[in-house]
Protein backbone atom coordinates (compact mmCIF):
# COMPACT_ATOMS: atom_id res chain seq x y z
CA UNK A 1 0.00 0.00 0.00
CA UNK A 2 1.07 3.58 -0.71
CA UNK A 3 4.48 2.31 -1.77
CA UNK A 4 5.02 5.21 -4.14
CA UNK A 5 4.79 7.66 -1.24
CA UNK A 6 8.01 6.37 0.34
CA UNK A 7 10.95 7.87 -1.55
CA UNK A 8 13.64 5.60 -0.06
CA UNK A 9 11.89 2.55 -1.49
CA UNK A 10 12.91 3.74 -4.96
CA UNK A 11 16.56 3.26 -4.03
CA UNK A 12 18.86 0.61 -5.39
CA UNK A 13 21.27 -1.08 -3.01
CA UNK A 14 24.32 -2.97 -4.26
CA UNK A 15 22.95 -2.73 -7.77
CA UNK A 16 19.58 -4.25 -6.89
CA UNK A 17 16.22 -2.67 -6.00
CA UNK A 18 16.01 -2.14 -2.25
CA UNK A 19 13.88 -4.75 -0.50
CA UNK A 20 13.37 -3.16 2.90
CA UNK A 21 12.41 -5.83 5.43
CA UNK A 22 13.52 -4.08 8.62
CA UNK A 23 10.45 -2.04 9.54
CA UNK A 24 10.47 -3.41 13.10
CA UNK A 25 13.77 -1.59 13.60
CA UNK A 26 12.44 1.55 11.98
CA UNK A 27 9.71 2.09 9.44
CA UNK A 28 10.42 4.17 6.35
CA UNK A 29 9.06 7.71 6.11
CA UNK A 30 6.57 8.92 3.54
CA UNK A 31 7.34 12.06 1.57
CA UNK A 32 4.61 13.95 3.46
CA UNK A 33 6.32 13.32 6.83
CA UNK A 34 9.70 14.37 5.45
CA UNK A 35 8.08 17.51 4.02
CA UNK A 36 6.28 18.31 7.27
CA UNK A 37 9.49 18.09 9.26
CA UNK A 38 11.28 20.30 6.73
CA UNK A 39 8.35 22.73 6.68
CA UNK A 40 8.57 23.16 10.44
CA UNK A 41 12.28 23.94 10.20
CA UNK A 42 11.79 26.32 7.27
CA UNK A 43 8.72 28.19 8.44
CA UNK A 44 8.13 27.84 12.16
CA UNK A 45 11.30 26.82 13.96
CA UNK A 46 11.08 28.07 17.56
CA UNK A 47 11.15 26.62 21.02
CA UNK A 48 7.89 25.65 22.61
CA UNK A 49 5.74 27.02 25.43
CA UNK A 50 7.69 29.99 26.72
CA UNK A 51 7.99 32.29 23.74
CA UNK A 52 5.67 35.24 23.24
CA UNK A 53 6.45 35.67 19.57
CA UNK A 54 4.54 34.34 16.59
CA UNK A 55 6.93 31.51 15.69
CA UNK A 56 7.00 30.27 19.29
CA UNK A 57 3.26 30.25 19.38
CA UNK A 58 3.07 28.33 16.07
CA UNK A 59 5.66 25.81 17.28
CA UNK A 60 3.72 25.30 20.49
CA UNK A 61 0.49 24.80 18.57
CA UNK A 62 2.12 22.19 16.33
CA UNK A 63 3.69 20.41 19.30
CA UNK A 64 0.40 20.31 21.20
CA UNK A 65 -1.46 19.25 18.06
CA UNK A 66 0.78 16.18 17.97
CA UNK A 67 -0.27 15.30 21.51
CA UNK A 68 -3.92 15.71 20.59
CA UNK A 69 -3.62 13.76 17.35
CA UNK A 70 -1.81 10.90 19.11
CA UNK A 71 -4.50 10.78 21.81
CA UNK A 72 -7.18 10.57 19.13
CA UNK A 73 -5.29 7.84 17.24
CA UNK A 74 -5.16 5.62 20.32
CA UNK A 75 -8.63 6.39 21.66
CA UNK A 76 -7.22 8.23 24.67
CA UNK A 77 -9.93 10.44 26.25
CA UNK A 78 -7.76 13.48 26.97
CA UNK A 79 -4.49 14.69 25.48
CA UNK A 80 -3.03 15.40 28.94
CA UNK A 81 -2.71 11.62 29.20
CA UNK A 82 -0.06 11.67 26.46
CA UNK A 83 3.51 12.40 27.58
CA UNK A 84 5.89 13.22 24.74
CA UNK A 85 9.31 11.58 25.13
CA UNK A 86 12.35 10.71 23.02
CA UNK A 87 11.13 7.21 22.32
CA UNK A 88 9.93 3.92 23.78
CA UNK A 89 13.10 3.43 25.82
CA UNK A 90 12.77 6.86 27.43
CA UNK A 91 9.07 6.18 28.07
CA UNK A 92 9.78 2.86 29.79
CA UNK A 93 12.56 4.41 31.88
CA UNK A 94 10.11 7.11 32.95
CA UNK A 95 7.56 4.44 33.87
CA UNK A 96 10.07 2.38 35.86
CA UNK A 97 11.86 5.16 37.71
CA UNK A 98 8.73 7.25 38.04
CA UNK A 99 7.22 4.41 40.06
CA UNK A 100 10.35 3.73 42.13
CA UNK A 101 9.14 5.61 45.21
CA UNK A 102 6.02 3.41 45.26
CA UNK A 103 8.03 0.18 45.35
CA UNK A 104 9.06 -1.26 48.73
CA UNK A 105 11.69 -3.89 49.56
CA UNK A 106 10.28 -7.34 48.78
CA UNK A 107 7.78 -6.05 46.24
CA UNK A 108 7.67 -7.91 42.96
CA UNK A 109 7.83 -6.77 39.37
CA UNK A 110 6.74 -9.20 36.68
CA UNK A 111 8.36 -9.06 33.26
CA UNK A 112 8.27 -11.68 30.50
CA UNK A 113 10.87 -13.86 28.85
CA UNK A 114 10.15 -12.26 25.48
CA UNK A 115 10.82 -8.62 26.46
CA UNK A 116 13.10 -6.26 24.60
CA UNK A 117 15.98 -5.10 26.81
CA UNK A 118 14.25 -1.70 27.01
CA UNK A 119 11.46 -3.33 29.01
CA UNK A 120 13.82 -5.37 31.19
CA UNK A 121 16.86 -3.36 32.14
CA UNK A 122 15.00 -0.27 33.52
CA UNK A 123 13.01 -2.59 35.80
CA UNK A 124 16.16 -4.42 36.95
CA UNK A 125 17.80 -1.10 37.77
CA UNK A 126 14.77 0.28 39.56
CA UNK A 127 14.22 -2.98 41.48
CA UNK A 128 17.83 -3.04 42.62
CA UNK A 129 17.48 0.44 44.11
CA UNK A 130 14.11 -0.31 45.66
CA UNK A 131 15.06 -3.75 46.96
CA UNK A 132 12.33 -5.31 44.85
CA UNK A 133 12.38 -8.66 43.06
CA UNK A 134 11.97 -9.07 39.29
CA UNK A 135 10.30 -12.29 38.12
CA UNK A 136 9.85 -13.38 34.51
CA UNK A 137 6.81 -15.03 32.94
CA UNK A 138 8.16 -17.94 30.83
CA UNK A 139 7.16 -18.69 27.26
CA UNK A 140 5.84 -21.95 25.87
CA UNK A 141 7.59 -23.87 23.11
CA UNK A 142 5.31 -22.32 20.49
CA UNK A 143 6.37 -18.82 21.53
CA UNK A 144 3.36 -17.76 23.58
CA UNK A 145 3.40 -16.47 27.13
CA UNK A 146 2.65 -19.27 29.61
CA UNK A 147 -0.55 -17.79 31.04
CA UNK A 148 -0.89 -20.46 33.73
CA UNK A 149 2.57 -19.57 34.96
CA UNK A 150 1.62 -15.88 34.75
CA UNK A 151 -1.44 -16.37 36.93
CA UNK A 152 0.54 -18.32 39.51
CA UNK A 153 3.29 -15.68 39.57
CA UNK A 154 0.79 -12.91 40.33
CA UNK A 155 0.39 -12.30 44.05
CA UNK A 156 -0.27 -9.59 46.60
CA UNK A 157 3.34 -8.37 46.37
CA UNK A 158 3.17 -7.87 42.59
CA UNK A 159 3.31 -4.11 42.00
CA UNK A 160 3.97 -3.93 38.27
CA UNK A 161 3.47 -6.20 35.27
CA UNK A 162 5.67 -5.00 32.38
CA UNK A 163 5.02 -6.75 29.09
CA UNK A 164 5.24 -6.28 25.39
CA UNK A 165 2.16 -6.09 23.21
CA UNK A 166 3.94 -7.71 20.25
CA UNK A 167 7.25 -9.55 20.55
CA UNK A 168 9.92 -7.97 18.33
CA UNK A 169 11.40 -11.43 17.68
CA UNK A 170 8.58 -13.97 17.85
CA UNK A 171 5.87 -11.68 16.53
CA UNK A 172 3.58 -13.06 19.22
CA UNK A 173 0.63 -10.82 20.07
CA UNK A 174 0.08 -11.05 23.80
CA UNK A 175 -3.42 -11.03 25.34
CA UNK A 176 -2.82 -7.72 27.09
CA UNK A 177 -6.44 -7.03 28.07
CA UNK A 178 -6.84 -10.41 29.75
CA UNK A 179 -3.46 -10.16 31.47
CA UNK A 180 -4.15 -6.60 32.61
CA UNK A 181 -7.46 -7.65 34.17
CA UNK A 182 -5.68 -10.43 36.10
CA UNK A 183 -2.95 -8.03 37.24
CA UNK A 184 -5.49 -5.47 38.40
CA UNK A 185 -7.22 -8.11 40.54
CA UNK A 186 -3.93 -8.28 42.46
CA UNK A 187 -3.58 -4.50 42.59
CA UNK A 188 -0.64 -4.42 40.17
CA UNK A 189 -0.07 -1.75 37.52
CA UNK A 190 0.35 -2.84 33.91
CA UNK A 191 2.97 -1.22 31.68
CA UNK A 192 2.86 -2.15 28.00
CA UNK A 193 5.63 -1.85 25.42
CA UNK A 194 3.61 -1.13 22.28
CA UNK A 195 6.60 -0.30 20.05
CA UNK A 196 5.78 -3.12 17.62
CA UNK A 197 2.01 -2.80 17.66
CA UNK A 198 1.00 0.86 17.22
CA UNK A 199 0.52 1.59 13.53
CA UNK A 200 0.59 -2.09 12.61
CA UNK A 201 -2.49 -3.41 14.33
CA UNK A 202 -5.44 -1.67 15.95
CA UNK A 203 -4.41 -0.34 19.37
CA UNK A 204 -7.09 1.17 21.58
CA UNK A 205 -5.62 2.33 24.88
CA UNK A 206 -8.89 2.00 26.77
CA UNK A 207 -9.66 -1.47 25.38
CA UNK A 208 -6.19 -2.75 26.23
CA UNK A 209 -6.91 -1.90 29.85
CA UNK A 210 -3.30 -1.16 30.73
CA UNK A 211 -2.10 1.67 32.96
CA UNK A 212 0.85 2.93 30.94
CA UNK A 213 1.69 2.36 27.28
CA UNK A 214 4.94 3.23 25.54
CA UNK A 215 5.75 3.51 21.83
CA UNK A 216 7.96 5.32 19.33
CA UNK A 217 6.95 7.53 16.41
CA UNK A 218 9.67 6.18 14.11
CA UNK A 219 8.13 2.71 13.96
CA UNK A 220 4.84 4.30 12.86
CA UNK A 221 6.32 5.95 9.73
CA UNK A 222 7.18 9.04 11.78
CA UNK A 223 10.38 10.75 12.90
CA UNK A 224 13.09 9.28 15.12
CA UNK A 225 13.75 10.78 18.55
CA UNK A 226 10.07 11.05 19.36
CA UNK A 227 7.98 8.73 21.49
CA UNK A 228 5.11 8.64 23.91
CA UNK A 229 4.08 7.40 27.30
CA UNK A 230 0.31 7.21 27.45
CA UNK A 231 -1.29 6.71 30.85
CA UNK A 232 -4.42 6.68 32.89
CA UNK A 233 -4.60 10.12 34.60
CA UNK A 234 -4.47 8.75 38.14
CA UNK A 235 -1.43 6.61 37.26
CA UNK A 236 0.42 9.50 35.64
CA UNK A 237 -0.28 11.49 38.83
CA UNK A 238 1.49 8.71 40.78
CA UNK A 239 4.67 9.00 38.71
CA UNK A 240 7.56 11.09 39.94
CA UNK A 241 9.40 13.00 37.23
CA UNK A 242 12.79 11.48 36.37
CA UNK A 243 14.25 14.36 34.41
CA UNK A 244 14.45 17.80 35.91
CA UNK A 245 14.98 21.21 34.39
CA UNK A 246 13.18 23.71 32.25
CA UNK A 247 9.53 23.33 31.22
CA UNK A 248 8.66 20.76 33.89
CA UNK A 249 8.44 23.11 36.86
CA UNK A 250 5.75 25.27 38.37
CA UNK A 251 7.83 27.44 40.72
CA UNK A 252 11.55 27.42 41.38
CA UNK A 253 13.28 29.18 44.26
CA UNK A 254 16.95 28.99 45.12
CA UNK A 255 16.13 26.15 47.49
CA UNK A 256 13.46 24.06 45.81
CA UNK A 257 10.94 23.61 43.02
CA UNK A 258 7.39 22.44 42.53
CA UNK A 259 6.27 20.51 39.52
CA UNK A 260 4.07 21.54 36.64
CA UNK A 261 0.86 19.67 35.91
CA UNK A 262 0.93 16.45 33.89
CA UNK A 263 2.06 15.94 31.19
CA UNK A 264 4.48 18.93 31.26
CA UNK A 265 5.91 17.58 34.53
CA UNK A 266 7.58 14.79 32.54
CA UNK A 267 8.85 16.90 29.65
CA UNK A 268 11.97 18.64 30.88
CA UNK A 269 14.12 20.36 28.30
CA UNK A 270 13.63 21.11 24.63
CA UNK A 271 11.74 18.31 22.88
CA UNK A 272 11.88 17.10 19.26
CA UNK A 273 9.47 19.76 18.04
CA UNK A 274 10.18 19.21 14.34
CA UNK A 275 9.43 15.53 14.83
CA UNK A 276 6.26 16.28 16.74
CA UNK A 277 5.16 18.69 14.01
CA UNK A 278 5.51 15.88 11.44
CA UNK A 279 4.14 12.88 13.34
CA UNK A 280 0.45 13.70 12.84
CA UNK A 281 1.08 13.40 9.10
CA UNK A 282 2.30 9.82 9.64
CA UNK A 283 -0.83 9.03 11.63
CA UNK A 284 -2.93 10.58 8.85
CA UNK A 285 -1.31 8.13 6.43
CA UNK A 286 -2.19 5.15 8.63
CA UNK A 287 -5.73 6.43 9.01
CA UNK A 288 -6.03 6.99 5.28
CA UNK A 289 -4.92 3.41 4.69
CA UNK A 290 -7.08 2.34 7.65
CA UNK A 291 -5.43 0.33 10.40
CA UNK A 292 -7.71 -2.62 9.69
CA UNK A 293 -6.50 -2.77 6.08
CA UNK A 294 -2.88 -2.33 7.18
CA UNK A 295 -3.35 -5.23 9.56
CA UNK A 296 -5.00 -7.41 6.89
CA UNK A 297 -2.13 -6.64 4.55
CA UNK A 298 0.55 -7.51 7.13
CA UNK A 299 -1.25 -10.78 7.93
CA UNK A 300 -1.24 -11.69 4.24
CA UNK A 301 2.49 -10.86 4.01
CA UNK A 302 3.03 -12.99 7.14
CA UNK A 303 1.17 -15.86 5.48
CA UNK A 304 3.32 -15.68 2.36
CA UNK A 305 6.51 -15.43 4.39
CA UNK A 306 5.63 -18.34 6.70
CA UNK A 307 4.56 -20.46 3.75
CA UNK A 308 7.66 -19.76 1.67
CA UNK A 309 10.10 -20.10 4.57
CA UNK A 310 8.53 -23.46 5.51
CA UNK A 311 9.59 -24.74 2.09
CA UNK A 312 13.27 -24.29 3.02
CA UNK A 313 14.53 -27.54 4.54
CA UNK A 314 15.98 -27.27 8.01
CA UNK A 315 15.16 -23.59 8.46
CA UNK A 316 13.71 -22.96 11.93
CA UNK A 317 10.99 -20.30 12.12
CA UNK A 318 10.09 -18.92 15.56
CA UNK A 319 6.77 -17.80 16.97
CA UNK A 320 3.13 -18.63 16.26
CA UNK A 321 2.28 -20.64 13.12
CA UNK A 322 -0.91 -18.68 12.50
CA UNK A 323 -0.13 -15.53 10.46
CA UNK A 324 -3.05 -13.77 12.16
CA UNK A 325 -1.59 -14.46 15.62
CA UNK A 326 1.56 -12.44 15.00
CA UNK A 327 2.62 -8.90 14.22
CA UNK A 328 4.18 -8.23 10.82
CA UNK A 329 7.50 -10.00 11.26
CA UNK A 330 9.16 -13.39 10.98
CA UNK A 331 12.41 -14.47 12.66
CA UNK A 332 14.28 -17.57 11.62
CA UNK A 333 17.51 -19.47 12.05
CA UNK A 334 19.32 -21.50 9.46
CA UNK A 335 21.67 -24.10 10.94
CA UNK A 336 23.86 -23.82 7.83
CA UNK A 337 24.26 -20.06 7.74
CA UNK A 338 25.01 -17.84 10.72
CA UNK A 339 22.57 -14.88 10.88
CA UNK A 340 25.35 -12.35 10.28
CA UNK A 341 26.46 -14.18 7.16
CA UNK A 342 22.83 -14.46 6.12
CA UNK A 343 22.19 -10.73 6.54
CA UNK A 344 25.39 -9.89 4.67
CA UNK A 345 24.52 -12.11 1.71
CA UNK A 346 20.93 -10.81 1.66
CA UNK A 347 22.24 -7.24 1.66
CA UNK A 348 24.29 -8.01 -1.43
CA UNK A 349 20.97 -8.89 -3.08
CA UNK A 350 19.46 -5.58 -1.91
CA UNK A 351 17.46 -7.29 0.85
CA UNK A 352 17.69 -5.44 4.18
CA UNK A 353 17.00 -7.66 7.21
CA UNK A 354 18.18 -7.56 10.80
CA UNK A 355 20.48 -10.22 12.27
CA UNK A 356 21.44 -10.57 15.89
CA UNK A 357 19.76 -10.88 19.25
CA UNK A 358 17.40 -7.97 18.50
CA UNK A 359 17.92 -6.63 22.05
CA UNK A 360 16.29 -9.76 23.46
CA UNK A 361 19.12 -11.90 24.81
CA UNK A 362 17.05 -13.76 27.43
CA UNK A 363 14.60 -14.80 24.73
CA UNK A 364 17.38 -16.04 22.45
CA UNK A 365 18.84 -18.01 25.36
CA UNK A 366 15.43 -19.64 25.74
CA UNK A 367 15.32 -20.37 22.00
CA UNK A 368 18.78 -21.92 22.25
CA UNK A 369 20.42 -19.68 19.64
CA UNK A 370 22.71 -16.69 19.97
CA UNK A 371 21.14 -14.83 17.08
CA UNK A 372 18.32 -14.97 14.58
CA UNK A 373 17.56 -13.30 11.27
CA UNK A 374 14.41 -11.17 11.21
CA UNK A 375 12.34 -9.97 8.28
CA UNK A 376 9.79 -7.36 9.32
CA UNK A 377 7.08 -5.67 7.35
CA UNK A 378 5.09 -2.50 6.90
CA UNK A 379 2.14 -1.35 4.88
CA UNK A 380 4.45 -0.93 1.85
CA UNK A 381 5.81 -4.51 1.90
CA UNK A 382 4.92 -6.56 -1.19
CA UNK A 383 4.61 -10.29 -1.81
CA UNK A 384 7.30 -9.92 -4.47
CA UNK A 385 9.67 -8.74 -1.75
CA UNK A 386 9.07 -11.97 0.14
CA UNK A 387 9.98 -13.82 -3.06
CA UNK A 388 13.20 -11.79 -3.23
CA UNK A 389 13.93 -12.65 0.41
CA UNK A 390 13.40 -16.36 -0.10
CA UNK A 391 15.46 -16.37 -3.31
CA UNK A 392 18.34 -14.63 -1.51
CA UNK A 393 18.14 -17.09 1.39
CA UNK A 394 18.38 -19.86 -1.21
CA UNK A 395 21.53 -18.26 -2.63
CA UNK A 396 23.07 -18.09 0.85
CA UNK A 397 22.26 -21.73 1.53
CA UNK A 398 23.79 -22.78 -1.78
CA UNK A 399 26.91 -20.77 -1.03
CA UNK A 400 27.30 -22.35 2.40
CA UNK A 401 26.14 -25.85 1.51
CA UNK A 402 28.75 -28.55 1.36
Amino acid sequence: MFRERFPVLKRRVNGRPLVYLDSSATAQKPEAVIAAEARFLREHNANVHRGMHTLASEATDLYEACRKRTARFLGVPHESQVVITRGTTASLNLAAFGLAARIAPGDEILVTEMEHHANLVPWFQMARRAGAVVRAVPITDDGQLDLDAYRSLLNARTRVVALTHVSNVLGTINPVAEMAAAAHRHGALVVVDAAQSVGHLPVDFQALGCDLLAFSAHKVYGPMGLGFLVGRPEVLEMLDPVEFGGEMIETVTLEDATWAEIPARFEAGTPNVAGAAAFPVALDLVDEASIERVRTHEISINATALDRLASLDGLVVYGPDDPAQRGGLVSFHDPLVHPHDMAQILDAAGVAVRAGHHCAQPLHRRLGVVATTRASFGLYTTHDEIDALVAAIGDARRMFGT
Binding site: N14, V337, H338, P339, H340, D341, Q344, I345, A348, G356, H357, V370, A371, M399, F400, T402
Partner: protein, 154 residues
Protein backbone atom coordinates in the same frame (compact mmCIF):
# COMPACT_ATOMS: atom_id res chain seq x y z
CA UNK B 1 30.79 -8.72 -4.24
CA UNK B 2 29.92 -11.62 -1.92
CA UNK B 3 32.57 -13.67 -3.71
CA UNK B 4 35.19 -11.32 -2.27
CA UNK B 5 34.01 -11.88 1.29
CA UNK B 6 33.10 -15.53 1.11
CA UNK B 7 36.05 -16.83 -0.88
CA UNK B 8 36.04 -20.57 -1.43
CA UNK B 9 39.05 -20.91 0.88
CA UNK B 10 37.10 -19.20 3.66
CA UNK B 11 34.00 -21.31 3.11
CA UNK B 12 36.13 -24.44 3.19
CA UNK B 13 37.64 -23.46 6.54
CA UNK B 14 34.15 -22.66 7.80
CA UNK B 15 32.73 -26.02 6.69
CA UNK B 16 35.54 -28.06 8.21
CA UNK B 17 37.39 -25.97 10.77
CA UNK B 18 40.91 -27.18 11.56
CA UNK B 19 42.01 -27.67 15.15
CA UNK B 20 38.48 -27.68 16.53
CA UNK B 21 38.99 -30.67 18.86
CA UNK B 22 39.84 -29.66 22.43
CA UNK B 23 43.32 -30.50 23.71
CA UNK B 24 43.63 -33.20 26.37
CA UNK B 25 45.99 -30.95 28.30
CA UNK B 26 47.13 -27.47 27.53
CA UNK B 27 49.54 -24.82 28.80
CA UNK B 28 47.42 -21.77 28.07
CA UNK B 29 43.78 -21.06 27.41
CA UNK B 30 41.86 -17.88 26.65
CA UNK B 31 38.41 -16.92 25.51
CA UNK B 32 37.14 -14.05 23.42
CA UNK B 33 33.62 -12.83 22.98
CA UNK B 34 31.89 -10.17 20.91
CA UNK B 35 28.68 -9.57 22.83
CA UNK B 36 26.84 -7.63 20.14
CA UNK B 37 27.02 -10.50 17.64
CA UNK B 38 27.48 -13.40 20.05
CA UNK B 39 30.73 -14.65 18.50
CA UNK B 40 32.61 -16.74 21.03
CA UNK B 41 36.10 -18.23 20.74
CA UNK B 42 37.83 -20.58 23.16
CA UNK B 43 41.49 -21.15 22.35
CA UNK B 44 44.01 -23.56 23.92
CA UNK B 45 47.75 -23.80 23.33
CA UNK B 46 50.24 -26.53 24.13
CA UNK B 47 53.93 -25.73 24.24
CA UNK B 48 57.08 -27.81 24.02
CA UNK B 49 59.68 -25.49 25.48
CA UNK B 50 59.48 -22.35 23.28
CA UNK B 51 57.35 -23.72 20.49
CA UNK B 52 53.61 -24.19 20.19
CA UNK B 53 53.01 -27.86 19.43
CA UNK B 54 49.25 -28.07 19.82
CA UNK B 55 46.28 -25.75 19.36
CA UNK B 56 42.54 -25.97 19.73
CA UNK B 57 40.18 -23.27 18.50
CA UNK B 58 36.48 -23.64 19.25
CA UNK B 59 34.52 -20.89 17.51
CA UNK B 60 30.81 -20.29 17.81
CA UNK B 61 30.03 -17.59 15.34
CA UNK B 62 29.77 -16.52 11.76
CA UNK B 63 31.71 -17.97 8.84
CA UNK B 64 34.35 -15.24 9.01
CA UNK B 65 35.12 -15.86 12.70
CA UNK B 66 35.11 -19.63 12.25
CA UNK B 67 37.35 -19.51 9.17
CA UNK B 68 39.71 -17.12 10.92
CA UNK B 69 40.02 -19.52 13.87
CA UNK B 70 40.63 -22.44 11.53
CA UNK B 71 43.35 -20.57 9.62
CA UNK B 72 44.90 -19.63 12.96
CA UNK B 73 45.00 -23.29 13.96
CA UNK B 74 46.87 -24.11 10.75
CA UNK B 75 49.41 -21.35 11.24
CA UNK B 76 50.48 -21.31 14.87
CA UNK B 77 51.83 -24.84 15.35
CA UNK B 78 55.63 -24.85 15.20
CA UNK B 79 55.94 -21.14 15.93
CA UNK B 80 57.16 -19.46 19.10
CA UNK B 81 55.13 -17.02 21.15
CA UNK B 82 57.14 -14.14 19.67
CA UNK B 83 56.48 -15.35 16.14
CA UNK B 84 52.73 -15.70 16.59
CA UNK B 85 52.62 -12.32 18.27
CA UNK B 86 54.29 -10.72 15.27
CA UNK B 87 51.91 -12.52 12.93
CA UNK B 88 48.80 -11.57 14.92
CA UNK B 89 49.90 -7.92 15.17
CA UNK B 90 50.69 -7.80 11.47
CA UNK B 91 47.25 -9.21 10.68
CA UNK B 92 45.59 -6.68 12.95
CA UNK B 93 47.53 -3.82 11.33
CA UNK B 94 46.58 -4.95 7.82
CA UNK B 95 42.91 -5.34 8.78
CA UNK B 96 42.85 -1.80 10.14
CA UNK B 97 44.48 -0.30 7.04
CA UNK B 98 43.15 0.32 3.54
CA UNK B 99 46.14 -1.19 1.77
CA UNK B 100 49.20 -3.27 2.48
CA UNK B 101 49.53 -6.99 2.80
CA UNK B 102 51.08 -9.59 5.04
CA UNK B 103 54.81 -9.98 4.37
CA UNK B 104 55.81 -13.23 2.70
CA UNK B 105 58.39 -13.97 5.39
CA UNK B 106 55.52 -14.28 7.90
CA UNK B 107 54.41 -17.31 5.87
CA UNK B 108 50.78 -16.22 6.23
CA UNK B 109 49.17 -19.07 4.31
CA UNK B 110 45.39 -18.67 3.95
CA UNK B 111 45.47 -15.62 6.20
CA UNK B 112 46.28 -13.53 3.13
CA UNK B 113 42.86 -14.46 1.74
CA UNK B 114 41.17 -13.35 4.95
CA UNK B 115 42.58 -9.81 4.62
CA UNK B 116 39.91 -9.27 1.93
CA UNK B 117 37.40 -8.96 4.78
CA UNK B 118 38.68 -5.43 5.48
CA UNK B 119 36.52 -4.23 2.57
CA UNK B 120 33.58 -5.03 4.87
CA UNK B 121 34.39 -2.91 7.95
CA UNK B 122 31.64 -4.34 10.18
CA UNK B 123 33.10 -7.83 9.74
CA UNK B 124 36.71 -6.96 10.63
CA UNK B 125 36.05 -7.65 14.30
CA UNK B 126 34.83 -11.17 13.38
CA UNK B 127 38.10 -11.92 11.59
CA UNK B 128 40.20 -10.49 14.41
CA UNK B 129 38.52 -12.17 17.37
CA UNK B 130 40.48 -15.49 17.27
CA UNK B 131 43.76 -13.59 16.84
CA UNK B 132 43.11 -11.21 19.74
CA UNK B 133 42.20 -14.26 21.81
CA UNK B 134 45.49 -15.84 20.73
CA UNK B 135 47.42 -12.79 21.97
CA UNK B 136 45.67 -13.12 25.31
CA UNK B 137 46.51 -16.83 25.54
CA UNK B 138 50.16 -16.21 24.66
CA UNK B 139 50.43 -13.41 27.22
CA UNK B 140 48.92 -15.56 29.94
CA UNK B 141 51.28 -18.46 29.06
CA UNK B 142 54.30 -16.18 29.35
CA UNK B 143 53.24 -14.47 32.54
CA UNK B 144 51.86 -17.63 34.14
CA UNK B 145 48.63 -15.81 34.93
CA UNK B 146 44.99 -16.58 34.33
CA UNK B 147 43.80 -15.00 31.08
CA UNK B 148 41.01 -12.48 31.07
CA UNK B 149 38.23 -12.60 28.54
CA UNK B 150 38.91 -10.45 25.54
CA UNK B 151 36.86 -8.84 22.78
CA UNK B 152 37.24 -7.01 19.48
CA UNK B 153 34.22 -4.84 20.17
CA UNK B 154 35.37 -1.48 21.49
Amino acid sequence: MMDELYREVILDHHRSPRGSAPLACCDAEASGKNPSCGDDVTLQLKYDAERIVGVSVATQGCAIATASGSILAELVVGRTSDQVRVLAEAFRAVMHSDAGELADELDPGDLEVLTGVRKFPVRVKCALLPWITLLEAVASAEQGRAPSETTTEA
